[in-house]
């Protein structure tokens, strides 16, 4: 079968969010083709897409298949399927990757959605923003998730919190792991559907990404409406702050577990500092602040986003808040007590 390499590679890459790095569940590190549809599944994310390869049923290890395709320079390639191999032919090269005809990947455990609804155009942006405030501490499972309700997305790591007001139209609130939900970003999802254990997203090409949802009955998400309500001193954010943050992020991003920069606010001055294993960067801006010295840590991406969209923040002795019509971000000020 002669096909376009980039088309095959594109469908494999689109569905790679459902792959597992290590094969925990059988064939979870494979691309699984079932009667013309391509599946990946890793218990948290399941992807499916109508495959260019037609009516094929087989499981192929993902890593060698992707690597071989990425290294082939030809646009047109030949695919041949034997009982035991997935053979890729270019002009003067050929690769055979072992395949399994028996499908054991439990993709059937993913419920099939029926009622698709329109997904808000802002959903990607909302996910990107609120995912900055989740925790990576697995002992606080619910904080590693984004809380999705019928009309908002929210998250907190207990030191910062964010809420994005957006119509999701889901019927019951759900917790979805941050990394799971982030897998739908930038894939042009336009529709959403829900089933008991999954939230499903679909784009116009027919790609479906299903994200495992957890019930809030067992894991009640903390209510932070009272924290958000506070009123404090309004302060103008200086222009050009995002360029400074980008530079600070060069070093802060070396901290894989927690990419945070330090912000020091004192009368008339705002200092941004990013620090990593290989060095540090700091920059000072003038600001119309007249209160006590304050320090806090914040994700650089969040600060860039905030400073691009807002020119004002509100603060008291404990908290700083940035708010617009549909997005609120609050961070605790006393978290950073050292340089």
């Amino acid at each position: 079968m002669k096909i376009s390499k980039s088309e095959l590679l594109s469908e494999l890459e689109m569905t790679s969010a459902g792959l597992s790095k290590r094969e925990l569940i059988e064939q979870s590190d494979c691309f699984v083709f079932i009667e013309g549809r391509l599946y990946t599944f890793n218990e948290e994310v399941s992807c499916s897409y109508d495959s260019i390869l037609g009516n094929l049923t087989a499981a192929v290890k993902a890593e060698p298949l992707l690597s071989v395709l990425r290294k082939m320079t030809e646009e047109d390639i030949q695919i041949k399927i034997t009982d035991s191999e997935f053979i890729i032919r270019g002009k003067r090269r050929e690769a055979g990757i072992r395949l399994e005809k028996d499908i054991v990947l439990p993709v059937r455990t993913v419920e099939t959605p029926e009622n698709w609804r329109k997904l808000s155009d802002e959903f990607d942006q909302a996910v990107q923003l609120v995912s900055q405030c989740t925790s990576s501490d697995e002992t606080q499972f619910r904080l590693t998730c984004i809380h999705i309700t019928p009309n908002e997305l929210e998250s907190t790591d207990n030191y910062q919190l964010s809420k994005y007001i957006i119509q999701t139209d889901i019927e019951s609130p759900a917790l979805v792991r941050k990394d799971t939900l982030k897998s739908i970003v930038d894939l042009g999802m336009t529709e959403i559907a829900e089933t008991k254990d999954w939230l499903h997203f679909r784009n116009p090409t027919g790609l479906i990404i299903s994200c495992r949802r957890y019930s809030t009955d067992d894991n009640e998400f903390p209510d932070f409406d009272d924290i958000i309500k506070f009123q404090g001193q309004k302060t103008k954010l200086p222009a050009g702050i995002s360029e400074a943050v980008e530079k600070a992020e060069i070093f802060s991003s070396e901290n894989l577990e927690s990419d945070m920069i330090l912000v020091h606010l004192k009368s008339g001055k705002l200092r941004i500092k990013g620090e990593g294993n290989n060095g540090w960067f700091k920059e000072i801006h003038d600001v119309n602040y007249t209160g006590d010295d304050l320090r806090f840590r914040i994700s650089p991406k969040m600060l860039i986003e905030i400073s691009n969209q807002h020119d004002e923040c509100e603060l008291n002795e404990k908290l700083i808040k940035v708010q617009n019509d549909n997005f609120t971000y609050v961070t605790s000020l006393s978290i950073a007590d050292d340089e």
Binding site: S28, Q140, N219, F224, S332, S334
Partner: protein, 405 residues
């Protein structure tokens, strides 16, 4: 660093247990002749027996229990109670693939979802996990992840509330059989223990509960010290028996800094309250503890010592200590805590996982991090201790034939 928007204890939560077996990580299915052997038996008496793993002959024949021999210990023990394995029971294994060796913890964890699926599907009245692997596979699903030595589980008949089935752990029949063939002097004793444990399990009838208890609905968190005092004085006036429990900022009260943070009282199994150790509630507690009402606690020397230090007098009329009674009933180590006793006697699920780490000593002075626990979480935990102490004490009195107060 500050302590965050919310108390850490309020945020503690475990990710839900995976219900898909991790065969991809285990890979035993690729190394045996007959992978993923299904359970066998008709289960007419709704008994599920969990053995360790398929035998070599099971693997060769593609079926569990492929070589039944009436002389084997399990069959003998069942027959003595009129039970025929394949007719009256279901039989499955902690690992569903042949391993040839004693199963490892990882293999058991990878395969646990298969066992949970079978239990959900069959909904047995009685489950007999036979041997270490079977116990290690089943118990974390019902109680705590850390199971401890298998020896502390043998012989209990646990009325698990989570699945509403009796859990009756016993020895591995293979171990009993091997010991039987040896000259080990323990073999006769072990055989008797094994047969008695099987007999006791088979004597149980139906589900443990017609209606599952909800202890959370039976407890009351009292916000005002004056209200707590009123309730406590009413308890004294009406008479009866109380189980009480303190939550403190350290184990020993001798330091002048030591603090009782909260107290919980279960009265006659009818009312259970938990309250902050403040104001009028302290005086009312003093009156209760010096009243003639019989008192129950778990490890009463703890409550007695703290009472002497903080209320100036000993507790009057101690009636029962669930820890001492547990020792009297069964001399095995690591079985006397109220958490363990409430699981094996009442089938109560674990309720302290999110709080335990804050109650262990956190510094050189021996004080813990109780101040980091959310107040409502602490009082709920405190109340659960009190209500379970009362219920466990009553069960223990039944076991020992001791008169109830």
């Amino acid at each position: 660093m500050n302590s965050g928007f919310f108390n850490s204890s309020l945020l503690e939560s475990k990710p839900p247990t995976s219900l898909l077996p991790k065969c991809g990580a285990c890979k035993l299915n690729l190394k045996c002749n007959s992978p993923k052997l299904d359970y066998i038996g008709k289960g007419k008496k709704r008994i599920l027996i969990i053995s360790e793993s398929p035998s070599k002959s099971d693997d060769e024949n593609g079926k569990l229990y492929s070589n039944p021999r009436s002389s084997l210990p399990l069959e003998t023990a069942l027959r003595k109670s009129g039970i025929v394995l394949e007719r009256d029971c279901w039989l499955t294994t902690a690992l569903i693939c042949y391993s040839g060796k004693e199963p490892t913890s990882d293999q058991i964890n990878h395969c646990r979802p298969n066992l949970i699926r079978i239990i959900k599907q069959l909904n047995p009245d009685i489950i007999i996990p036979a041997g270490r692997s079977a116990i290690t596979s089943l118990i974390p699903h019902l109680w705590k992840e850390h199971v401890g030595p298998a020896s502390r589980w043998y012989g209990f008949q646990i009325p698990s509330q989570q699945i509403n089935s009796w859990i009756c752990p016993t020895y591995s029949p293979t171990y009993v059989h091997q010991l039987n063939k040896s000259n080990d002097p323990k073999k006769e004793v072990l055989k008797i223990h094994f047969e008695n444990q099987i007999k006791a399990a088979l004597a149980l009838e139906g589900k443990p509960y017609d209606e599952l208890p909800d202890y959370n609905k039976q407890i009351e968190i009292i916000d005002k010290p004056s209200q707590a005092a009123r309730i406590i004085r009413k308890m004294i006036q009406k008479g009866g028996t109380v189980a009480f429990d303190y939550e403190t900022d350290r184990i020993k009260p001798d330091s002048d800094d030591s603090k009782i943070v909260s107290c919980a009282i279960c009265w006659n199994d009818k009312k259970t309250i938990a309250y902050d150790w403040k104001g009028e509630a302290i005086e009312a507690t003093r009156e209760l503890l010096h009243s003639p009402l019989p008192k129950i606690a778990c490890n009463l020397k703890f409550e007695d010592r703290w009472t002497r230090k903080h209320l100036g007098k000993r507790v009057r009329n101690w009636y029962w200590d669930t820890m001492l009674a547990a020792h009297v009933i069964d001399q095995r180590p690591r079985i006397t805590s109220i958490k363990f006793q409430s699981f094996v006697l009442l089938g109560a699920s674990s309720y302290d996982d999110h709080i335990k780490k804050y109650l262990t000593a956190g510094n050189k002075e021996g004080s813990n991090n109780i101040h980091l626990i959310d107040r409502k979480e602490l009082l709920t935990y405190n109340a659960m201790d009190a209500i379970l102490e009362y219920k466990v004490a009553m069960k223990q009195m039944d076991v020992l034939g001791y008169p109830k107060p």
